[in-house]
């Protein structure tokens, strides 16, 4: 068995060029997280105090609430709805932050789901209802879900997006590319040359891996400049986690694609692995409110380690896996997936 660095270098150069010459790949690694951060940031960022939007059934009541709200200078915009169903739908779709159930302050007044604006809306409503009831204490406001402690949603979601980006670079970026090389029989062409598997994979994965390290920093910078996402002193740990995350998920991508012969086959496998990660990895929302029984399962999702690790590094967030824990778990996961992938890997 021989090993030539010249081969590794040329394969790496090839993988590098191939990526940069694929505009759609560049878009999905950079453009997609940008757009997501922007959209989610604006949707949930609430960087300036905006009036809370509260739905009320009946134009008449809305008017009287508005009058009281105006007097007490509460930052609430009351929106009138025709019936209970339409006001409920408005809240589900996010057009209002809360709504009042019933048409009278003396009746049971209710509102809210787990929306980030709800806490503020609740506080403001208490003031208004107090005034509305002529100084009487407001009836109990039933809050159905408690929002995540600490930080805005954008702070929470940015590390999640970075973790997803690394997962995508490893899984899709490497998995699809490797499978495509096999499906197009390019591997066969390489196999009849003296290039070794190790040389090829080291060059290819090395180049792709290095490329994958860039977007997380760009996304973080972007989030920090646009939304003031805090970085605190977590940057070194963040960097370490990015490297280890890229390693672990590259291994996963290689494992998924170690035998798949067609893009259809790898798509199936990819979905099988990726879908649970997206749903249960806690990238977009906290899974801590999931039932207690499934919590051990959730903690076994590799994406959640990276999400938790990054959040812990950047935000000092209280999460189930610490940054150091995440480092260890991801290194272990990477060693395992790479080990398996190299055993299973086939040129054809």
């Amino acid at each position: 068995m021989r090993f030539r660095w010249a081969s590794v270098r040329e394969v790496a150069a090839l993988a590098w060029r191939d990526y940069l010459r694929t505009p759609e790949a560049v878009f999905w690694t950079y453009g997609f997280p940008f757009v997501m951060t922007l959209v989610l940031g604006f949707a949930f960022g609430e960087s300036a105090p905006e009036p809370s939007r509260v739905g009320v059934v009946g134009a008449e009541f809305a008017e009287s609430f508005r009058a009281v709200a105006g007097e007490s200078d509460a930052q609430i915009r009351f929106v009138a709805f025709e019936d209970q169903e339409s006001v409920h739908r408005a809240m589900i779709s996010g057009r209002i932050d809360a709504y009042l159930l019933g048409s009278d302050a003396n009746e049971d007044v209710v509102l809210d789901a787990a929306r980030p604006g709800a806490v503020l809306a609740e506080l403001r409503l208490r003031n208004v209802l107090h005034a509305f009831g002529g100084g009487q204490p407001p009836p109990g406001l039933e809050v159905r879900a408690i929002t995540e402690p600490g930080g805005r949603y954008v702070d929470f979601v940015l590390p999640g997006l970075i973790a997803l980006n690394l997962l995508g670079a490893g899984g899709y970026g490497i998995g699809y590319n490797i499978t495509q090389l096999r499906a197009k029989k390019l591997f066969r062409r390489l196999w009849v040359t003296p290039v070794g598997r190790a040389e090829f994979l080291l060059g290819f994965l090395g180049a792709r891996g290095l490329l994958a390290l860039v977007p997380p920093f760009v996304i973080l910078l972007f989030g920090s400049l646009t939304f003031g996402v805090p970085v605190r002193d977590g940057l070194p740990m963040f960097a370490l986690l990015v490297v280890v995350g890229a390693f672990a998920f590259s291994g996963l991508g290689l494992l998924i694609s170690s035998r798949a012969r067609t893009l259809e086959a790898v798509s199936g496998l990819m979905n099988l692995v990726m879908l649970p990660m997206w749903l249960l990895g806690g990238a977009f929302y906290s899974t801590s409110s999931f039932p207690e029984v499934v919590q051990p399962l959730l903690r076994a999702v590799p994406l959640s380690w990276l999400c938790d690790g990054l959040r812990s590094a950047l935000l000092d967030m209280d999460v189930s896996v610490s940054a150091f824990g995440a480092l260890g778990l991801l290194v272990g996961f990477g060693v395992l997936t790479f080990g398996l992938a190299l055993r299973l890997f086939r040129w054809t």
Partner: protein, 325 residues
Amino acid sequence: MSSDSARAAVAIAIEGLRKVYRVRRGDDVVAVDGFDLRVERGEVRGLLGPNGAGKTTTVEICEGLLEPTDGSVRILGRHWSEDAFGIRERIGVTLQETQLFERQTVGELIRLFCAFYRDSISVEEALAATALEDLHDRRFGKLSGGQKQRLAVAIALVGRPELLFLDEPTTGLDPQSRRSLWEVVRRFRDDGGTVLLTTHYMEEAETLCDRITIIDHGKSIAEGSPEELVHDLGAAHIVEVEAEDLRDRVDSDSVLRLPSVAELEWDRDRMTVAVASLHDSVPALLRHFDGIGVQPSALSTRRRSLEDVFVHLTGRHLRDGEGES
């Protein structure tokens, strides 16, 4: 190069090769069934056979892409199990369909493959050998079929191979691209290289190959130079005669008794006669027609070709049923 390559005067030695594909349990397909082949150094050997005859399977076993089920294969004196990387350093390959990295340029692709070999030619040499100099900066995805095929051969040549495998190198190419590829192969042979080539094109086999092996049902059924194979048919020429109501007026048996006439076939009123020598048979045929009062409306002669050999041996035309697996 090493001393064992000098020792081995035989480039490819295959004995009793068998390859069985298991489709389902109890449903085996025998692709190669006791195939023998011996290719001397410095020759261009053509492997001819109908679709599904086992050509590509045989070539891929020689290239180390497939494992034989049974039999012995020595490439440049070595077994694949002994020294796979050593063999790979010394062979060049074009696969039946060459797919390379779409977004890389011709120059980049050649440089990539150059890096894989211990001893390689320069990018410029590879471009010059295949007349691709002007396309150095063109991306693979933008090349025409003929250019892709020439690049495939350029890449096969980068490691200074002693033995070149070309699996249907000119399928789908226009005549000009085909000729320019033949030129590359001839130059390689003239420099002492050995070539194993499969092809669908009779003309390619006749002009390019020193020797030809005809393979059918996974076995070698004939071997020799193109001339020898035609000669072995016994009658090297074809005479075709047409006349009104020829079939009714001529007695086949009496034609077959004429000097040097070997075979006779009818297609309506066209008579096709295989003969050993034209100068004996044509005058005799004309005298015979004169005697029974037949005026031929057309008479032509041609040399028998490999195609005739092929039809004779396999009962099929070489290009029957395109689209081999």
